[in-house]
């Protein structure tokens, strides 16, 4: 290959020489001169190959004439070959080339052309490469007369050639050593040479490799790729410009791997393509990586697009340069549209400031963004999103990208908001409810108070927690009762309910109604007690006022009743009395007349007596009225009546500072009595006792009611007060007898009437050391006695 290029440079033409030969014959003289001056080494040899002429230039080179090589006697009988061998060897030709020279002469006889490349010794004894060529001149019979030859100094060229050959060898070594496949192609793209790596890779011989398959396609490439790319290759080849193609090359194991093949043209001086060098690089791994990358990128994209979140990316400056489809759909804007708008256009105005702050803080500090704001939907509605973005830094630490994701938290947010709102409302409700609200642990320790309670009590909510509310705030008088109720509630795990007095902000004690219910967990254990405390002081006072009014009213109605009764009695009696008096006057007139009209007087006196009797009758009727006994008598448990009265009278008594104690016998038999009347008797006596103590200043003011059995036939009730006592124990039961400023003095009288109507007895005695005892006995019911 490459050595062949080198041979083109010689333009010695044998034909010219032939003509010169002819010319020589025609003009030996001029020819001689020509030969002498010709810039070439010319020689002639006998048909045997014995040089018989060398031109001066050749002689000059060798430093001697033919004499030195002339045939001596010793040469007789030797063949040309031998001669040349001997003479030329000795004289001119390098020993190493003698063999070649001999072969060349041999060939020359066969072919009729001599051609030898050999080293000739110069005058200075150094050898230079020459090419010697010779053609025979024949006579008419075709016998060789002479050999005419030239010798051309090709030493320089030969040396270059050698260097070239060496370098080519080295190059080939390199070509085979580099881990690239190389193919040399002719201008039409036909393969000429393949380097070792390619052969090794394909497992083919050079020949196999360069031979197209049955369809004329290179065996190298994947058929698909060839089908797809051969036109492109052909066109590229015709464009004579370097190009590259990626295609798959078949490996010896049959597997195709991707190669990037770069085609590079080699041109001659005219720019014509001489060769194409095609260097292939195995890019399969990269290709696969790329493929994998593309695949993974695809997957990532799908992931990002299908993620139930809005994904976005901005430049380091915050300019959006990617939003996923979901986000775009939500906003109803493309990325391009978004880029032209301010971000405030898509964020709720109320959230703009917060979002801006979060964003600028993140950018200033290059720290992740984490905020919540509302984004405007395509339809104009807003939804809450949790926005989280992370910065991506380059190697210098500058933020080059922000990657963000918006998660729709609207439902959660709304739920939270609703929850918060309801909680706020509930709290507001609890804090503003016009009642004190508190909570206690299962063992009764208070751990929450609402503002109202704190305000009512005049302490902060915190201070309240630091004291034992019950002990410190409850009226000492009520403490025992409250503690007992608490103990009961906790014991039975039922509602707590207590009415007692609690110290208010102004230091006064106010009536409250405290109630608590336990709250339990699933297992039924009490987690907390929830309680309310109503200030019922006003109510209580109103109640007291009402009771007072009622008492007054009942007293008033009692008075009214008595007064009406009195009026009725008066009318009943005044009628006959009126007549009686009038008759009396008439009698007086008849008797004092002149003369006295005795007859009329007597008649009138009769009427007078009659009217007197009528008046007496009226009185009897009235008495009978009071004795009227249309009572509902039933077997009655007096203890029960006493307890009832106790309940009725406790409040009234306590407003007057009197406590009622009852002491009831267990063995009280029933009596036969009217319940209402019995109640009235006891109420009258109790009220009488309470009122007797009302004006007393000293304590204790206790009214005790005691029931006992009195012998076998009766029961005894005693109502004992510690009032001012009685001046006249006999008169107290008389009607209209009273020591009090108010009242008609009828209560005790009525009581006595009732008791006596029940065949009982009532009396009063003095109590010791002070006060009075009112006692009454009633017979035991006949049916049980």
């Amino acid at each position: 290959m490459s050595q062949e290029i080198g041979w083109y440079g010689v333009d010695i033409d044998i034909d010219d020489q032939k003509r010169t030969d002819e010319a020589l014959r025609q003009s030996e003289q001029s020819l001689n001169r020509l030969i002498e001056t010709l810039p070439a080494m010319v020689w002639r040899a006998t048909p045997d190959g014995e040089p018989d002429y060398i031109n001066p230039r050749l002689a000059n080179y060798t430093g001697r004439g033919l004499d030195g090589v002339g045939r001596g006697p010793e040469d007789l009988g030797r063949t040309l070959h031998d001669l040349v061998k001997l003479k030329v060897q000795n004289a001119m030709v390098h020993q190493d080339d003698l063999e070649a020279a001999a072969r060349a002469w041999g060939r020359a006889h066969e072919t009729g052309a001599f051609d030898l490349t050999a080293r000739l010794r110069g005058a200075d004894a150094s050898y230079r490469w020459f090419q010697a060529r010779a053609e025979p001149m024949r006579d008419a019979a075709g016998r060789i007369v002479y050999w005419y030859g030239v010798a051309v100094d090709i030493d320089d060229r030969k040396r270059v050639e050698e260097a070239l050959q060496k370098s080519e060898q080295e190059l080939r070594g390199i070509v085979d050593a580099i881990p690239q496949t190389i193919v040399v192609l002719d201008a039409d793209g036909r393969g000429l040479y393949a380097n070792r790596p390619l052969l090794d890779y394909t497992g083919l011989t050079m020949e196999q490799l360069l031979t197209p398959d049955s369809r004329g396609n290179p065996v190298l490439f994947h058929p698909d790729d060839w089908a797809r790319l051969q036109d492109e290759r052909r066109q590229a080849l015709s464009r004579s410009m370097p190009f590259e193609i990626e295609w798959r090359v078949r490996r010896k194991d049959g597997q195709y791997r991707w190669f990037l093949v770069r085609y590079h043209p080699l041109r001659d001086e005219q720019g014509r393509i001489l060769r194409w060098y095609a260097g292939g690089t195995d890019i399969d791994d990269r290709k696969r990586a790329e493929e994998a990358l593309r695949h993974s990128e695809q997957e990532l994209r799908v992931l990002i697009e299908t993620l139930p979140a809005m994904v976005w990316r901005t430049t380091g400056d915050g300019e959006p340069d990617y939003i996923n489809q979901r986000f775009a759909d939500y906003l109803g804007r493309s990325l391009a549209e978004l880029a032209q708008q301010r971000w405030q256009d898509v964020v709720h105005p109320e959230d703009a400031e917060t979002a801006a702050r979060a964003w600028s803080l993140a950018r200033d500090t290059a720290t992740p963004v984490d905020t919540t704001c509302r984004f405007r939907k395509a339809d104009g509605a807003y939804r809450w999103f949790h926005v989280h973005a992370e910065p991506l830094r380059d190697c210098d630490g500058h933020v080059v990208r922000w990657y963000g994701v918006n998660v729709d938290v609207d439902d959660r947010k709304r739920a939270e908001e609703a929850l918060r709102k309801s909680e706020r409302e509930l709290r507001l409700l609890i804090e503003t409810i016009p009642a004190a609200v508190w909570r206690a642990t299962p063992d009764g320790e208070s751990d929450y108070f609402n503002q109202r309670m704190a305000r009512d009590i005049g302490m902060s909510q915190t201070d309240l927690l630091n004291l034992t509310v019950r002990r410190d705030l409850t009226n000492p008088d009520d403490l025992g009762m409250v503690a007992q109720e608490w103990a009961r509630a906790r014991e039975t795990e039922t509602a707590f309910d207590s009415t007692h007095k609690v110290r208010a902000a102004d230091g006064s004690y106010r009536w409250v109604n405290a109630r608590a219910e336990p709250m339990r967990d699933e297992a039924g254990r009490i987690i907390h007690w929830y309680g309310v405390m109503f200030d019922i002081d006003d109510h209580k006072r109103a109640e007291e006022a009402l009771r007072t009014t009622q008492a007054k009213l009942s007293r008033a109605s009692e008075i009214a009743m008595v007064s009406e009764m009195a009026a009725s009695i008066a009318h009943e009696i005044s009628q006959p009395l009126g007549a009686l008096v009038a008759n009396g006057h008439a009698i007086q007139r008849w008797l004092s007349a002149e003369p006295p009209n005795l007859e009329r007087a007597r008649l009138t006196a009769e009427r007078l007596i009659r009217d007197g009797s009528a008046a007496a009758e009226v009185v009897n009727r009235i008495r009978a009225l009071f004795k009227r006994t249309d009572l509902t008598r039933t077997p009655l448990d007096l203890n029960e009546v006493i307890r009832e009265v106790n309940r009725l009278m406790t409040d009234e008594a306590s407003t007057k500072g009197v406590r009622i104690e009852i002491d009831l016998a267990d063995d009280m038999p029933p009596i036969w009595a009217d319940r209402m009347q019995m109640q009235q008797v006891i109420v009258n006596l109790v009220r009488n006792g309470v009122e007797a103590m009302e004006s007393e200043q000293s304590d204790p003011r206790v009214l005790s009611i005691r029931s006992t059995r009195d012998g076998i036939n009766s029961v005894l009730i005693e109502i004992r007060d510690q009032g001012s006592g009685l001046e006249d124990v006999e008169r107290v039961f008389e009607p209209f007898f009273t020591t009090k400023e108010t009242g008609m003095g009828m209560g005790l009288a009525i009581s006595r009437w009732i008791v006596e109507a029940h065949q009982g007895r009532v009396w009063a005695t003095s109590n010791t050391p002070r006060g009075a005892v009112f006692s009454f006995t009633l017979p035991i019911s006949s049916s049980t006695s």
Partner: protein, 212 residues
């Protein structure tokens, strides 16, 4: 007191009271008629005599006070109330409506007699006044329409000239009318005529001041 110059009515549902009062008043020489109810009293043809009505407050058919109210505005005897149980409001009401007295049973002889005599005297006076008025009314009824027109003008104090001008008649004609009026009304003087006109309730249409 003669038996025919007065009459005392007693209305009381209690017969004993009626008997006793009849006896008492008879013994005091008073003419007495008793009734058991208000309707009996109202139906009774009462003689035209000064009278006194002793009226029980509590009556079976109609309350005494209501009866008093019914009779107001028509001539009736002066009323003395008696009652079994006198209450202050009733007595005040009765006395305001013109009752002579309000006595609570049993009442004293003196109180009753005093009340009766006061009542009779008042009724007598009232009857007299009523008689005078009736006479004047009778006389007034004899006046001609023109004279009835002239009378208010002259008793108002207008001069004849003025009154004549008022009626569009001559002063002489007016004077003739005036003379006839004085005659028909049996007025002894112009001053008496003025008093009569006052009793009859004839309005003074023109104040005397207008003349000055």
């Amino acid at each position: 007191m003669s038996a025919h110059d007065h009459i005392v009515f007693v209305v009381d549902d209690d017969f004993r009271m009626r008997e006793a009062l009849q006896e008492l008043l008879t013994s005091a020489h008073l003419n007495v008629v008793t009734f058991g109810s208000a309707s009996e009293y109202l139906q009774f043809a009462k003689p035209d005599l000064p009278g006194c009505l002793i009226l029980d407050v509590d009556l079976p058919d109609i309350n005494g006070l209501d009866l008093q109210g019914q009779m107001a505005g028509q001539p009736h005897p002066q009323i003395v109330f008696i009652t079994g149980h006198g209450d202050v409001p009733s007595s005040v009401r009765a006395l305001k409506a013109g009752a002579v007295d309000f006595l609570t049973k049993p009442f004293s002889d003196a109180d009753l007699m005093g009340a009766i005599h006061t009542a009779l005297a008042q009724d007598r006076g009232a009857r007299l006044e009523r008689g005078k008025l009736a006479t004047l009314q009778q006389r007034f009824s004899t006046l001609t329409p023109r004279e009835r027109e002239v009378l208010p003008l002259v008793v108002s104090g207008l001069l004849n000239k003025q009154a004549a001008a008022e009626l569009g008649i001559s002063e002489v004609t007016l004077q003739i009318h005036r003379g006839k009026i004085m005659h028909k009304m049996e007025a002894g003087s112009f001053a008496e005529l003025v008093r009569m006109a006052g009793t009859l309730g004839i309005p003074v249409t023109h104040g005397r001041r207008a003349q000055h």
